[in-house]
């Protein structure tokens, strides 16, 4: 418990810093969204005073001191109010993000966990059977797989299985014939749509986990306590799992924490390629359409989730490694 309490202040301070930076950065950029919109219109002809007024009302212009703006901003965030999205006008940003988040969490989250679990297990096996055919195949295969750019993998999969073979849908999160809801047909449709993107992310992520775990494990296998455990007549299974893998897992947990934090950011290119309605696709649209409120809110959500994930992993690490516990 003391361990948790000691880490809490750090979390609070970093969170505050992230929120504040998110407030300051757009304000450090020259110009305002309204100014930019007016300038764009002015390129097509003169802008009347009422037009300018309408744009300013819609997009908002800063008023009041920086401190009061900051206060307003904090209050708004606390109430979950991130403003109105330009792209999805007049939907509020919080609602837009709320709609995209489950898609990303379900797809990228599940696949990240799967990649970690499968990759780590394969890594343990490769290291334990070091020098075997399996080890060689896994190591070479993973290096090979990790060398592909993942959007390229995505395009190939899309072409082969979606376009040529037609086994899987080409884009979207579910087919137009079903409507989102807790029913079987929607679930099947969503699952079918997620196969190709999931496979893409898995292929691109798996290799790293396998190789990382294999290398950690090889290092640990050289430790005295492994030799001693073997000399004490423990079963190979116990030595491999409880002594070697258990210790080799520790560095992987930290990396997993970072990977989890990035889940919320979505897998940008994958989502764009497959037109998947997740956060990554949303971010892409926000950038393309200069949708500042959406962008700002997305950045905040992504930052906060990275911080939270790291905090949680920090706590888990404390459970796993008694040496960092105090």
């Amino acid at each position: 418990m003391r361990y948790v309490l000691r880490r809490l202040p750090v979390l609070v301070i970093t969170l505050w810093a992230a929120v504040t930076l998110n407030f300051l950065l757009p304000r450090l950029m020259p110009g305002t969204p309204a100014g930019a919109a007016v300038a764009k219109l002015a390129g097509q002809g003169s802008v009347s005073a009422s037009q300018r007024r309408a744009i300013e009302v819609m997009l908002g212009v800063p008023h009041g001191s920086l401190a009061s703006q900051y206060w307003q901003y904090l209050k708004a965030i606390a109430g979950g109010n991130f403003g109105i999205s330009y792209t999805y006008f007049p939907e509020p940003v919080s609602k837009v993000i709320g709609a995209a988040l489950p898609w990303t969490l379900a797809l990228v989250g599940t696949v990240t966990v799967m990649a970690f679990v499968i990759g780590t297990l394969l890594g343990v096996l490769a290291a334990w059977k070091r020098g075997s055919i399996f080890d060689t195949a896994a190591s070479v295969g993973c290096t090979f797989m990790a060398a592909f750019p993942y959007f390229w993998t995505a395009l190939v999969l899309l072409y082969v299985f979606g376009f040529v073979a037609g086994w899987f849908p080409i884009r979207g999160g579910y087919s137009a014939s079903v409507s989102p809801g807790w029913d079987w047909s929607f679930f099947v449709s969503a699952l079918g749509h997620s196969v190709l993107p999931a496979f893409t992310i898995l292929v691109s992520g798996l290799g790293g986990w396998v190789l990382g775990m294999r290398n950690n494990m090889m290092g640990v296998l050289g430790e005295d306590y492994i030799v001693f455990a073997e000399a004490n007549g423990l079963s190979p299974r116990t030595v491999a799992l409880r002594y070697a893998a258990r210790n080799a897992l520790l560095p992987g947990v930290t990396a997993f924490g970072m990977a989890l934090g990035l889940v919320v950011g979505g897998s940008l290119l994958t989502e764009v390629v497959f037109g998947y309605p997740g956060i990554g696709y949303l971010l892409y649209n926000a950038v393309v359409n200069e949708d500042y409120p959406l962008m700002q809110a997305l950045f905040l959500v992504i930052t906060v989730s990275v911080l939270m994930a790291n905090f949680v992993v920090d706590l888990i690490y404390g459970l796993l490694d008694p040496r960092v516990r105090r």
């Binding site: 020098g131 430790e223 005295d224 306590y225 030799v227 001693f228 455990a229 073997e230 000399a231 004490n232 007549g233 423990l234 079963s235 190979p236 116990t238 409880r242 002594y243 258990r246 210790n247 520790l250 796993l320 490694d321 008694p322 040496r323 105090r326």
Partner: protein, 659 residues
């Protein structure tokens, strides 16, 4: 230690090995022939020691006997028979049966022998549970009994390894090995890296358990003194072979192989009136190209024409020796000597001429040409303390649960210009912290440190580099102390540029002179080497050369020989002594090793838990100690009743003449 089973030869052998060969076949490297034809047997209840320098194959042999070798190492030929079962090619599963049936191993120092994320209780559950199904309560009971056998409290069961001290961890490892109800225990360097007093306590525990439980033991160690005191029989190993196999008392008093004699000459009694130390120049051969003829010949002062042939084993009483020259009267050349009262290292002996890298030769050449130190000044410490904040106290050390630990508690001492002072004590005595404060790496919590008129404790960080021209430190670990990516010439050269600002020819001359001074000749040859191409002793010489580049007034040497083989100890100590004489620098020698302190220092300060408990002239402190702690430190040194009783052997007065 006194209760030892009766004589050995009647017992049926418990473990035998014949024609044992071990090969390391690293990928992309030449195969290394680490064990080359070893025939041995250990009788029931015997305590056997296996000694040799690092790289002689002793640990490999121990691992081979316990069937713990892993790729790229393998048993290439020969057999290992344990309790009339041939275990040479036994598969993993049957091997586990053998282990549960009594073949146990305790690894080097036990520091890393325990799974860091598992409590001690878990270790016992794993080991006991692997043998038979037991209830948790039964396991706990057995574990508590085993822990009490190694003098640990049951509360240790709930600790993680990192919460235990080194000695406690080693005791846990021994208890785990005992859980196998072993009939043979192989101890691989069981006390290396432990504090001297703890070391003694562990050895006593092993001896007591051996008597109580009655297991047979093989103790592998680089420390001949320790092994001789604790075993019935000793095997001396060199270059993958057993070169001498003798009953311990016989070996202690009359070694037959020059290598054994030389190893024995590296031991000494710091409390004797006259202390001399020999060394073995050079290093063990590279076993990827096993030498023709006698492997020891290149380092042997007795070697002659017959040594070009492979020597054969000659039986001597109950033992044997493998040497053409044996049995000859063995006089080992000594490198350094201390006699009660004012004394000096032995003047250059014939030995130096034979091996060009020996320090003495080179120092003699450099003598008189340079006086390195500027006018030396005394170093004074007044009431120095150092507090450390602790995260969590190690339960063994008896420190308060949390808060401040006083590493140094009010130490005052004065190192006169040109003097050599020893700072001795066990681990946790504050000796290293004191050294670090003197060179400005730590700042005292209170008190003052002055060099001449300079307040060292008040120095700002940016003034430290200038201070380091006057005070230099030689660290313990010559392996970690050098950047592996730079040639040693570059490393020393950097120090010359930084401290002396020399360039061009002057720089080059100074670099070569320094290499010459520390006995690395020819200097051009050594300066171009990378650290991994040098032996441990040569690396430590480079570290000393780097310290000398600053022309320091004070040299602080923190355990400069403790990581080196004993065979190199005398060389380095001799070098330190010579340098001090030739440069006029004063020396602060920090160590737990009383013998080396006796050899290089005039004054001795004994520290215990941050306090000075005793100080005075080195020989009188060691020969008539007044504080119980000093007495305890001295008692912890394994004593070999070698020298005094035996007129022949290693100890004659004359500096060794090549025979």
């Amino acid at each position: 230690m006194d209760t030892r089973p009766p004589s050995q030869s009647e017992h049926a052998p418990l473990l035998t090995a014949s024609g044992l060969e071990v090969l390391y076949e690293p990928a992309g490297g030449p195969p290394v022939h680490a064990v080359r034809g070893v025939d041995i047997s250990i009788g029931q209840g015997q305590l056997v020691g296996l000694v040799g320098e690092s790289g002689c194959g002793k640990s490999t042999l121990g691992y081979a006997l316990a069937r713990l070798l892993r790729p790229p190492a393998r048993i290439a030929a020969g057999t290992v028979v344990f309790d009339s079962t041939d275990i040479t090619n036994l598969d993993r599963k049957s091997l586990r049966g053998i282990r549960h049936n009594g073949l146990a191993v305790v690894l080097q120092s036990g520091m890393n022998a325990l799974n860091p994320v598992r409590r001690v209780r878990g270790h016992f559950h794993d080991v006991l549970g692997a043998q038979q199904r037991l209830h948790a309560a039964e396991v706990d009971n057995t574990a508590e009994t085993l822990l009490s056998q190694v003098e640990l409290a049951p509360s240790v069961l709930d600790r993680y390894p990192h919460e235990l001290s080194g000695g406690m961890r080693q005791r846990v490892a021994i208890a785990l090995a005992l859980a196998l109800k072993p009939r043979l225990v192989v101890f691989d360097e069981p006390t290396t890296a432990l504090d001297v007093i703890v070391q003694r306590a562990i050895m006593d525990t092993i001896a007591r358990l051996q008597a109580e439980v009655g297991f047979t033991a093989l103790i592998i160690s680089h420390d001949l003194g320790l092994v001789l005191g604790a075993t019935d029989q000793v095997w001396v190993m060199y270059a993958g072979r057993i070169v001498e196999r003798r009953d311990s008392p016989a070996l202690a008093t009359g070694p037959l192989h020059p290598y054994s004699a030389a190893l024995l000459a590296c031991q000494g009694d710091p409390t004797a009136e006259k202390v001399e130390l020999g060394g073995i120049p050079g290093s063990p051969p590279d076993l990827s190209k096993p030498p023709e003829g006698c492997a020891f010949a290149p380092r042997c002062w007795l070697s002659g024409p017959p040594c070009k042939e492979e020597p054969h084993e000659k039986l001597v009483g109950t033992g044997s020796v493998t040497c053409h020259m044996a049995p000859t009267k063995l006089e080992v050349p000594k490198l350094i000597r201390r006699v009660d009262g004012p004394s000096e290292p032995i003047p250059d002996s014939g030995h130096g001429a034979k091996v060009p890298t020996t320090a003495s030769a080179a120092v003699a050449k450099g003598r008189g040409r340079h006086r390195d130190a500027t006018t030396a000044e005394p170093l004074a410490l007044i009431d120095v303390t150092k507090d450390f904040k602790t995260k969590r106290a190690a339960p063994s050390e008896g420190v308060q649960a949390q808060g401040l630990v006083q590493a140094v508690a009010g130490v005052s001492l004065r190192l006169e210009a040109g003097q050599a002072m020893g700072l001795v004590g066990g681990s946790g005595s504050g000796k290293t912290t004191l050294g670090r404060m003197i060179v400005g790496l730590e700042r005292p919590s209170s008190g003052s440190i002055t060099l001449g008129n300079l307040r060292v404790d008040k120095l700002r960080t940016r003034d430290l580099p200038r201070y380091w021209r006057r005070v230099q430190m030689v660290f313990q670990d010559p392996y970690a102390g050098l950047n592996p990516l730079h040639s040693v010439g570059y490393t020393v050269g950097r120090a010359i540029r930084n401290h002396q600002g020399l360039k061009g020819d002057d720089y080059r001359r100074e670099l070569l002179r320094l290499f010459d001074t520390v006995g690395l000749a020819p200097p051009e040859h050594y300066a171009a080497k990378l650290p991994h191409q040098l032996s441990g002793g040569q690396r430590q010489r480079v570290v000393i050369a780097r310290a000398l580049a600053a022309k320091p007034q004070v040299l602080v040497a923190d355990e400069p020989v403790s990581m080196l083989d004993v065979s190199l100890r005398a060389e380095i100590l001799h070098l330190l002594g010579e340098l001090r004489k030739n440069t006029g620098a004063s020396l602060l020698y920090i160590t737990h090793d009383l013998l080396s302190a006796r050899l290089v220092t005039d004054q001795l300060v004994v520290l215990r838990q941050g306090h000075i408990v005793e100080s005075g002239p080195t020989s009188s402190v060691l020969r008539s100690p007044s504080h119980p702690y000093t007495v305890e430190l001295i008692a912890a040194i394994p004593t070999v009743q070698q020298s005094q009783t035996v007129p022949a052997g290693a100890i004659t007065e004359r500096p060794g003449e090549p025979v």
